[in-house]
Every structure is written in structure tokens, then in C-alpha cells.
Amino acid sequence: MEGISNQEVRQFIVFKLGNEEYGIDILNVQNIERVLSITRVPKAPFFIKGVINLRGEIIPVMSLRLKFNLEADEYTDDTRIIIVKIDDNQIGMIVDEVKEVLQLTADSIESVQGVSGINTDINLSFIQGVGKVNNHIVTLLNIKSLIDSILVDSLENA
């Protein structure tokens, strides 16, 4: 990978949702699973698909598509659940496809303010920046604020 300077290199898991590519910090990612059978949880926020049994642990699963106001998921062979962990709480995120692990130096990450007009459906606080690699652009998610917003949603729902 080119452009590795003396600066700190961060690694991101890149996944696809529709035509967009997103990245999440690899440090938040526990593992990546194929779609398991999901048990629906009544009265949960609309974007929570339910819970799964991941090796004896019950983990809620959300649809990033629904969360980002995209069309509902269509499960294919490429569909994956990315399990992330924030402050000891695990949650799964359904994505269309997991692409690669991307190494980015700080200077190849641009702040959100720098890029205007990107995907307006997404709350800007969920985005921590935009990574530029070769010719394509990866939206880097702020996973903590994204997950924290679930808590608010699920509490409002209760």
C-alpha cells in the first residue's frame, strides 16, 4: 500500500451498502459473520432486525440500510453481519458486502466539513471523515455516535 508516511496508520474495514463504500475502525470490530438466523424482537426500533445467537451470546442486530433510510436488505451470499463492540456492548450490523481492510494515514482522511454534499440521508454526526484511496472514496463512520443513537431510539420506543 502506497503513501505510508511516518504518520500513524489506521486500519478500516470497508463494506458496501448499495453503491456507497463505508469504513469502520478495525479496533471496534469483533468479527464478521455470515447471516445467521435472526429472531425478531417485538417493539424494537424499526432498524433492529432482532437478535442472534453468536456462540452462546445474544447479540442484537441492526440493519444499516434501514438506519440510513435505504431500501430494506436483500440477503445474498455476500451479505455479512459485522459485530462491533462499544464499551463492552456488542451489536451486529448487516451490510451488503465486506470488501477489504484499508490502511489510511491521517493525511488521507478528510473531515466531513471538507466534503460537501455527500449522502444527505445520513446524519452527519455518524460520519467521522472521508478516506481517499486511489480513485474511490470511503465514508468513515463514527461508530460510537451511531451506536449511541440506537440507545436513544430504543429508549424512546419503550
Binding site: T39, V41, P42, G56
Partner: protein, 700 residues
């Protein structure tokens, strides 16, 4: 020195000591002259002093030190333990508790010195000194006072070099006598050395160890009272006796031993052989040289030590040597999780279609089932703690309340040995305190009112615990004024909780249940004991969070009774699996009353509510499918109704089908879905699928 590794032990043990101090003080209040109790109080204060000193908590040490001074004067009969004095001692206890709390939270003892309490303690001491002048010096210099009293008798012989004792006096066994005899034959001296440690000595066993090492440089130790093991375990007061064989003189010993810090006094006596035993000396000498005999001698020596120890201990405080291990609750949780996993896999194996011809497989499965059940029970038992742990702080609380409220209250507890899961125990304290305070403040009348209504002046609060099937029931009952239904009704209407019309139609029980509605406090004046606005609803929420429920029964003028029902365990329950559409749900079995097949035509409508009539009881029915947004199935002629009971209330749940009874492991849905109240958790089924557990409390 880094003490952090001992911090946890210190906290745990301090709490235990404080608890026993609490109990002893309460007893002492009833029987001020009871010596064993007084000794116990003294012992605890002393231990706490030592412990806090070791850990470097000087303020705590100082307070216990002052406490000890006063206690020792009570023990000597110079001060009488009257109620004022006990108040001060209770204050000490509170102060110590807050020290320990502070240490638990921050690892430091904080800055509070409790000067006022210490002043009170010193005042008590000086007040006494006017009456009994002679002892003032002793009392004000406690570090040295204790040995003095004990040693008065022995003092004069200490420096008497001609003093000697016979082997018999030294309580030696035959084999030790042989050793002594041999020593004499080789021109060794035998001494019995009595060593007194300073009463301020904190690490007694460590000090004793240094003493032993010093002794060993001079010669061989052939006997020690108490046994070396006991000394290592600090199972001795402040003195111990050894018998040493050495070539050195008494003076050498004395000089060396007294140079050790915290050794207050050393009494050395020559051990002599009486003639009679000396006659047999030669035979034994041979025997003594054979190795087997040596080993045997060790055995019998320790046996003999046991005996002498028993005689010795009569004067000492008896300590219970419980065979227990302190285990971190997290480790138990891990163990419980593993057992849960095992149960899941067992259920899965059971689910695999059994090959009828394969007898071995079936037997193995059945065996596995028995073992997992026993294992589960065993692990459960390990986690069980008697409710005593919670109850034991209540007598003190009631005592304080009764003083504060100026009511005579007697707390009568029963079933303290009833056991509950540790997690439940940790959580149940606050709700119970709340209920007891309510009973004392609102429930019981004032003395005048009680006399006026022909009741005995002393109000009673009963706290009972007992096991009832898979539940533990805790009752808080008082013989006070009872709940005034009309007053609640009025208040509820005033607050807009219910309408006037609704109130008219409500049964007394329904109205009493209004007490559990948020922010419903009927007490007319807010006292600092109860009625802070956080009411019974908090109690109810807490208890329901533990998977239990609470109900109240009351009779006006006779008293009220709060009944708290708690599950024995939180982790694994028996449940009925039901089918709703394509989904599976678990209903805790203990909530289920019965299951009925009902003809659709039997459903009646009462006030827009579908009900069924079952054995002359009207039971409202709820379509779980609707509540849980399950895609609807086509209607049949008969429906299956699972009737659940919560307190007195019965509700029928309509389900699509029954799957069966199963042991399930409750798992949390996690933080993100904790807001969903009607689901109590999830469980993993044998096939790896997840089923949700219904929370009956919120659904009914």
C-alpha cells in the same frame, strides 16, 4: 509496602467484624453485664484496630483504639455500659462503617477524624477516673496496660534466676521428655520460655516468627504452646510458650529476645527432670534414635498438643474455624455460564431424534441429563447466601428508628437461614429497608394512639423469610393502623391518578395496589424516614427487576403485610415454550396457573374486554399475537389459553400452540434493547435458535 492486594480482604473482613460488632452491641444493650458479649465486642474492636493499623488507616486505628480503651474499662467493671455509653459505641460503629465505605470507594480512609466521638470516649474515660482514681494511669496508657494486668502474678518470678519447673509442669509429652532427657545427657540446658508480645502488635504471627527464628539460633524448639501452626494463623492472644533445648544461658536468651521489637516481656524457666523419670532414661535413649520412632513421636506430639491446646483455649476467645473459601462472585458467574452452556447443549442432544434401537445412546443421554441437573443444583447452592446477610442490619436500623420516632418497636425476624441467590441478596436490601421504614413510620401508630385503641404499647414488625416452591417469600408485617383505603382513594382522585367513577368501581385491593403507582405517597407530613416522594413504586420496580413481585394485604386497624416473592435463581428457570405464528416464546413456568382449550364461542365481551368464564372466575384474555406484533394466523374454532397469575390477578394469554416444558437459561438482551419491557430476556434453544422470554409482570 504495597497493601493493595490485601485491600479486598481487609474490606470483606472489616464488614464481617462490623456486623458482629453491631450484633454484639445490640445484645449488650439488652444485657449490659454479659461478659462473653463484652469480650466479643472488645475482641472485634481490637481486631479492627490491628487490621486498620496494618493497612495504614491511622484515623480508623485511632478511633478503634479509643473505643478499646473504653471497652477495656467496661470489662474491668470500672464503667457501666449504660444506654448513653452504648449510643457512643453505636456512633463509633457508624463512623467505622463510613470509614470502611470510604475505603471501599476510594481505597483511602478519607479525612474525617470523628473528633467528637473520640472526645466523647475520652470524656467517658475521664468521667470514670474521678470515681476510680487508681486505674487512671492504666487506662490512659493502654499500650502497656494489658500486659501489666496479666503479669502481676508472674512479674516477681521473672528475674528470679533460681526459678525452675519440672517437666510435668511444662506439660511435655513422653516423647518430649525423652528429648529433654537426651539433652541433659549431652549437657544441654532446657528452658521453658514464655514470651509476651506488645498488645499493640499488629502482625502477631510475623513477630512470633521472628521470635522463633531468634530462638532457633540458640538451640532447638521442642514444643510450642499454642502449636506452631496456630501461631502462624494468629490463633493466639499476645503470649506463647516454647520449650527450647540449648547450650546457651538464660541471659543470652533474654537479651536476644528482648531486643526484638514489640516483645514486652520474657519469662525463662529451667526445665528439670524429676528422678523417677530419669530412671528409665537409658532405655528410651536407644529408642529415640530410631527414625520410625521419631516420626511417630511427631504424631503423638501433635496429638498431645491438641490436648494441651484444648485446655489452654478455655480462657481464650473461641474462634470458629469454618472451612470456607472466599471466591470472587465473577468466578461463580463464569461457572454458572459454563453450566448454562452445558444445559443448552444437553437440551440440544435431547432434541436430536433418538434412535430407538440404540439403547446405549439413550442411556448416556439420560445419564447426562441427571448429571447436568445435579451440577446445576450444586452450582446454584454455591451461589446461595442466607438472607441473614441482609437481615442482620435491620435490628440496628429499627432500634434507631424507634428512638427517632419515639415509638416502642420490636422487630421479630424469622427464617434468616433461608437462602437466596447472591445477586438477589445484593439487590434486595434497599427495598426491604424501604418496607421496614414504611412499617415503622406509617404502619405503626404512636404510643398514645396504640394505647388509645387498646393495643399494647410496643409495636411489632415481623420480618419473615421462607421458601415456597421455586420462590422465596419475604414478608414485612406490622400490627399498626393498616392501610386506609378511603384515604388512598381520595388522594388518587385528587392527584388525578384515577377518575371518581373509576374509583367507585374499584375493589379495596385494587385501590391498595395504587400505592405502587409512581410518586404516590400518602403520608401527610414528609418525615426524613419515609415519604420522600420515592415511594413503593421504586420498591416494586426493583423487585420486578429481580424477577419477583410484591403484593400487600391490609386490614384497617389491624396492620398491613407486604409480601415479596423472589425467584430462587436468576439464571436458569423452567419455562413453557409456546408458539405464536412462526415464533417461539418462553413463559416462566412459575407464573402459569393452568392451560385451557377454549371454544371461541365461549369468549364474552365485558366493557370492550374479551373475557372467559372459568370455574366461575372471570378472566380477561390477551392475544399475545397482537401485543407482540406477530403476523396473524387464520382463526380456529378453539384457542389455547395459558392462564398466568400475578398476585391475585389472573390473565389468559392466547397462544397458537404449546411446544413443551423446558429448562431455559436466561440471557439478557443487552443494553440496546433493555428498553423493551415486555421481554424479560432471551434464551438459546437446543437448535441454536433464540427464543424470547415474556415478562409476565409487565404483560398482566
Amino acid at each position: 509496602m504495597d497493601m493493595s492486594q490485601y485491600l479486598e480482604i481487609f474490606i470483606e473482613e472489616s464488614k464481617e467484624h462490623l456486623q458482629s460488632l453491631n450484633e454484639s452491641l445490640l445484645q449488650l444493650e439488652h444485657e449490659p453485664g454479659n461478659m462473653p458479649i463484652l469480650n466479643e465486642v472488645f475482641r472485634v474492636a481490637h481486631t479492627l484496630k490491628g487490621m486498620s493499623g496494618t493497612m495504614g488507616y491511622t484515623k480508623m486505628q485511632n478511633l478503634t483504639h479509643n473505643m478499646e480503651n473504653v471497652l477495656s474499662e467496661i470489662r474491668n467493671g470500672n464503667i457501666v455500659a449504660d444506654s448513653n455509653l452504648l449510643d457512643v459505641l453505636f456512633k463509633c460503629l457508624d463512623a467505622l462503617e463510613s470509614y470502611v465505605d470510604e475505603i471501599t470507594n476510594s481505597g483511602k480512609e478519607g479525612n474525617e477524624e470523628y473528633k467528637d466521638i473520640i472526645d466523647e470516649l475520652t470524656n467517658i474515660l475521664s468521667g470514670k477516673s474521678k470515681k476510680v482514681d487508681n486505674n487512671v494511669a492504666v487506662a490512659s496508657s493502654p499500650e502497656i496496660k494489658a500486659p501489666v494486668t496479666e503479669d502481676n502474678i508472674t512479674n516477681n518470678i521473672t528475674d528470679d534466676s533460681g526459678d525452675a519447673i519440672d517437666v510435668k509442669e511444662a506439660a511435655l509429652t513422653d516423647f518430649e521428655i525423652n528429648a529433654v532427657r537426651e539433652a541433659f545427657a549431652r549437657n544441654y540446658n532446657v528452658y521453658q520460655i514464655h514470651i509476651f508480645l506488645n498488645h499493640g502488635c499488629v502482625l502477631k504471627s510475623a513477630r512470633a516468627f521472628i521470635v522463633f527464628r531468634a530462638l532457633e539460633t540458640h538451640g532447638d524448639i521442642i514444643k510450642s504452646i499454642p502449636k506452631v501452626e496456630d501461631i502462624e494463623d494468629e490463633k493466639f492472644e499476645f503470649d506463647f510458650t516454647v520449650v527450647v533445648i540449648s547450650k546457651d544461658t538464660k541471659e543470652d536468651f533474654e537479651k536476644d529476645l528482648l531486643s526484638i521489637a514489640e516483645v514486652d516481656q520474657v519469662i525463662i524457666k529451667n526445665v528439670l527432670l524429676s528422678d523417677k523419670i530419669e530412671l528409665a532414661a537409658e532405655d528410651v535413649k536407644e529408642v529415640h534414635n530410631t527414625p520410625e520412632f521419631d516420626r511417630q513421636s511427631n504424631v503423638s506430639r501433635s496429638m498431645a498438643d491438641d490436648e494441651s491446646d484444648d485446655n489452654d483455649s478455655s480462657g481464650k476467645a473461641k474462634r470458629k474455624a469454618g472451612k470456607t473459601v472466599r471466591v470472587d462472585i465473577d468466578r461463580l458467574d463464569t461457572l454458572m455460564n459454563l453450566v448454562s452452556e452445558l444445559i443448552i447443549i444437553k437440551t440440544r442432544l435431547e432434541g436430536i431424534e433418538r434412535d430407538k434401537t440404540n439403547q446405549n445412546y439413550n442411556e448416556a443421554i439420560e445419564y447426562l441429563e441427571r448429571i447436568t441437573t445435579s451440577l446445576h443444583d450444586a452450582v446454584m447452592k454455591v451461589r446461595m447466601v442466607p438472607v441473614e446477610r441482609v437481615f442482620n442490619r435491620f435490628p440496628r436500623m429499627i432500634r434507631d428508628l424507634s428512638r427517632k420516632l419515639d415509638k416502642d418497636i420490636e422487630l421479630i425476624m424469622s427464617g434468616e437461614d433461608t437462602e437466596l441467590d447472591r445477586t438477589v441478596i445484593d439487590e434486595i436490601g434497599d427495598p426491604l429497608i424501604h418496607l421496614l421504614r414504611n412499617a415503622a413510620d406509617h404502619g405503626l401508630e404512636t404510643k398514645e394512639e396504640r394505647l388509645h385503641s387498646g393495643k399494647p404499647e410496643i409495636g411489632h414488625i415481623y420480618l419473615r423469610a421462607y421458601q415456597d416452591g421455586n420462590n422465596v417469600v419475604i414478608e414485612v408485617e406490622d400490627d399498626g393502623r393498616g392501610i386506609n383505603v378511603n384515604k388512598i382513594k381520595q388522594k388518587a382522585i385528587e392527584k388525578g391518578t384515577i377518575s371518581y367513577e373509576a374509583a367507585a368501581n374499584m375493589s379495596d385491593q385494587d385501590i391498595i395496589d395504587l400505592l405502587f403507582k409512581p410518586s404516590f405517597s400518602t403520608s401527610e407530613k414528609i418525615s426524613d424516614i419515609s415519604g420522600r416522594g420515592v415511594g413503593l413504586d421504586v420498591v416494586k420496580t426493583k423487585i420486578e427487576a429481580l424477577g419477583g413481585d410484591i403484593e400487600v394485604k391490609s386490614e384497617l386497624g389491624k396492620g398491613s403485610k407486604f409480601i415479596v416473592r423472589l425467584p430462587l435463581t436468576l439464571a436458569i428457570i423452567q419455562a413453557l415454550m409456546v408458539r405464536l405464528g412462526n415464533e417461539k416464546y418462553a413463559i416462566p413456568l412459575n407464573t402459569i396457573q393452568n392451560i385451557e382449550d377454549i371454544n371461541v364461542s365461549d369468549i364474552q365481551l365485558v366493557q370492550q374486554q374479551e373475557v372467559i368464564l372459568l370455574r366461575n372466575q372471570v378472566i380477561p384474555i390477551i392475544y399475545l399475537e397482537d401485543i407482540l406484533d406477530v403476523p396473524k394466523n387464520e382463526q380456529c374454532n378453539t384457542i389455547t389459553v395459558v392462564i398466568v397469575k400475578k398476585g391475585e390477578k389472573q390473565v389468559g394469554f392466547v397462544v397458537d400452540g404449546l411446544i413443551g416444558q423446558q429448562e431455559i437459561v436466561i440471557k439478557s438482551l443487552g443494553k440496546y434493547l433493555s428498553g423493551i419491557k415486555m421481554i424479560a430476556g432471551a434464551t438459546i434453544l437446543g437448535d441454536g435458535e433464540v427464543a424470547l422470554i415474556l415478562d409476565i409482570n409487565t404483560l398482566v
